[in-house]
């Protein structure tokens, strides 16, 4: 079972604020996932290619040709804040 501080660390990285009850649920669920991975680790996997994608497709590429995108008005339509054609965000420096 992973400890609470690990759960809190992961939650913080994901910008999640968990209630004590939720922390407990997460501890159990995350531990279950990790146990599953431990089960895989215990197997002899020499010579087995790691899976990085579930479908066996490679090289999906597109030519370097421009396509029309959004107008600026459309791009900014859902913005919480617009400043002179840009997205306004809280001061970040």
């Amino acid at each position: 079972m992973i400890d609470e501080s690990t759960v809190n660390h992961v939650a913080r990285l994901a910008r999640l604020r968990l209630t004590p009850d939720e922390q407990q649920v997460m501890r159990e669920e995350l531990s279950g996932i990790l146990e599953h991975i431990d089960a895989i680790r215990a197997m002899d996997l020499d010579g087995v290619e790691p899976t990085t994608h579930v479908i066996a497709v490679e090289n999906v590429l597109r030519p370097d040709v421009p396509r029309p995108g959004l107008s600026r008005d459309d791009a900014l339509r859902e913005a919480a804040d617009v400043v002179d054609g840009s997205f306004g965000v809280p001061r970040m420096d």
Partner: protein, 481 residues
């Protein structure tokens, strides 16, 4: 002699000058009004699917081949997770453990002619973030930052070096020649000012003789090689001061202030390096066709550093000639065309010397001027044949710059052909008679005075005298040789 040895590695971000972004068809632009080149993909709207730009793959391979990197037979993209307003997906698509280009190396030539070889750890593909501008009071009563997504999703190649560098000046030498190489490859504009090439340096020091690495700091985002060089030297000095006073270096990002020469520490963001990379499920592996890679290898242009070596070894140029003439691919092409037709060393001298000096007035580069490489070669041949003197050749060049005529035609129209020795002898006889003191000096064995006669003869003939002929005729007239 310092008791410490600096250990430096660099990370270089190069924006590829493709037409479109890494994962969508939005056009790349610099300087256009903000947020005029966006689409649902690069704005990270829900449900969109990125598709890799084939040209970005090609250029990454071209860079990797030039750096002698191992090309991965199969590479994948990862998500690098962090929250920042310039990253709408809250992850950057990058590469992690299977980059497209693996180990390689790059050799640069230092000013003293010695070679500087730097190991390349990897070169991988990723997407650039959007441009975040810190506003500060642009709106009445409010402070904030603004985001322009035009740059977001621009293809980047990040080149990471081994910690093989030992001084700020070596870093600058390496980066300048790496930049030049990238320009020859035609993959990026490599403009430091516009941010299409950016370099960070990881700097640490260790006691001389030690093989362990000290704690490193990261010097971020310098927009010129000169400032980066100075920043590295300042950071090395700061670390030496701390260690010699018994202190400890903390791993942090530092910033160099070019105006004051000060190093300041940027707030280290807690947990900012826990990126939780995982394979990008929206993108499938890239498996470059070996035949494609081989054809890209075969098409590689001759790169500036090997070219410089060849110019010195095979064409008789000085190291400095070679450095100047490989400044740009255009200049190389121009020189090579001339050198194929006439003596390479003489062509080099005229192109890097008089031609560029005279063109400075119009601001043109040689290849933009009316003087073709064939013209330069023809002029060099006229000189070698003694048809024109050096001062006359300079005038011929000035004429060619104006009219674009063949040098022989300019010689003809301006009457610049070297005088034949018969006509010249008469002028020399007059000069010797008019300057008895100088003639006596020559009889006394002061050969330096020949320069005086050459100068006078040039003046008399409007530069049409051949200096060697003048010297020979003066000796004949004065010494009876």
């Amino acid at each position: 002699m310092s008791a410490y040895e600096p250990v430096i590695g660099v990370e270089i971000h190069v924006q590829l000058s493709t037409r479109t972004k890494m994962f969508c068809g939005c056009e790349l632009s610099f300087g256009d009004p903000p947020n005029t080149h966006t689409c649902p993909v690069c704005l990270a709207h829900p449900g969109v699917l990125p598709v890799v730009n084939e040209e970005a793959i090609r250029r990454a391979l071209v860079i990797g081949l030039a750096l002698g990197c191992e090309i991965a037979p199969r590479s994948i993209f990862h998500r690098k997770n962090y929250f920042y307003p310039d990253l709408p997906k809250a992850y950057q698509v990058s590469q992690f453990d299977i980059p497209i280009c693996g180990r390689g190396e790059f050799t640069a030539i230092r000013e003293d002619g010695s070679e500087l070889t730097v190991g390349i750890t990897r070169a991988h593909l990723e997407e650039d973030a959007a441009k975040l501008t810190h506003e500060g009071g642009r709106r009445a009563g409010a402070e904030g930052s603004v985001v322009d997504f035009n740059r977001g999703g621009t293809p980047l190649v990040e080149i990471v070096t081994e910690p093989d560098l030992r001084s700020g000046s070596d870093v600058a030498t390496f980066l300048r020649q790496l930049r030049q190489t990238l320009l020859f490859l035609g993959v990026s504009d490599c403009s430091m000012e516009e941010g299409s090439m950016r370099a960070d340096a990881n700097v640490s020091i260790r006691p001389v003789g030690s093989h362990e690495l000290g704690t490193k700091t990261e010097l971020k985002n310098m927009n010129s090689f000169r400032f980066l060089e100075r920043g590295i030297e300042a950071e090395i000095a700061r670390q030496e001061r701390i260690l010699s006073e018994g202190g400890r270096i903390s791993q942090e990002t530092v910033h160099y202030e070019p105006e004051t020469g000060h190093i300041t520490s940027l707030r280290s963001k807690e947990e900012s390096h826990d990126y939780r990379y995982f394979p990008e499920p929206d993108l499938v592996p890239v498996v470059p066709d070996p035949a494609w890679v081989e054809s890209l290898r075969a098409e590689q242009p001759e790169l500036p550093v090997p070219l410089r070596r060849r110019m010195v070894a095979e064409m008789g140029l000085s190291a400095e000639d070679a450095e100047v003439l490989t400044e740009s691919p255009e200049l190389v092409e121009y020189f090579m065309q001339a050198a194929a037709l006439a003596d390479p060393k003489a062509c080099a001298n005229w192109i890097r010397g008089e031609l560029r000096a005279q063109l400075r007035e119009t601001g043109e580069e040689p290849w933009q001027s009316k003087v073709t490489p064939a013209h330069v070669a023809a002029l060099v041949d006229l000189l070698a044949a003694g048809t024109v003197s050096v001062p006359a050749a300079k005038e011929v060049l000035a004429g060619m710059i104006q009219t674009g005529d063949q040098p022989a035609a300019v010689v003809e129209s301006k009457g610049l052909a070297a005088m034949d020795d018969g006509d010249l002898a008469a002028i020399i006889a007059e000069l010797v008679a008019a300057n008895p003191d100088q003639a006596q000096q020559l009889r006394d064995g002061k050969d330096k005075v020949l320069g005086f006669f050459v100068g006078q003869a040039m003046k008399q003939t409007g530069g049409r005298a051949n200096p060697q002929s003048v010297q020979k005729l003066v000796r004949e007239a004065v010494l009876g040789e």
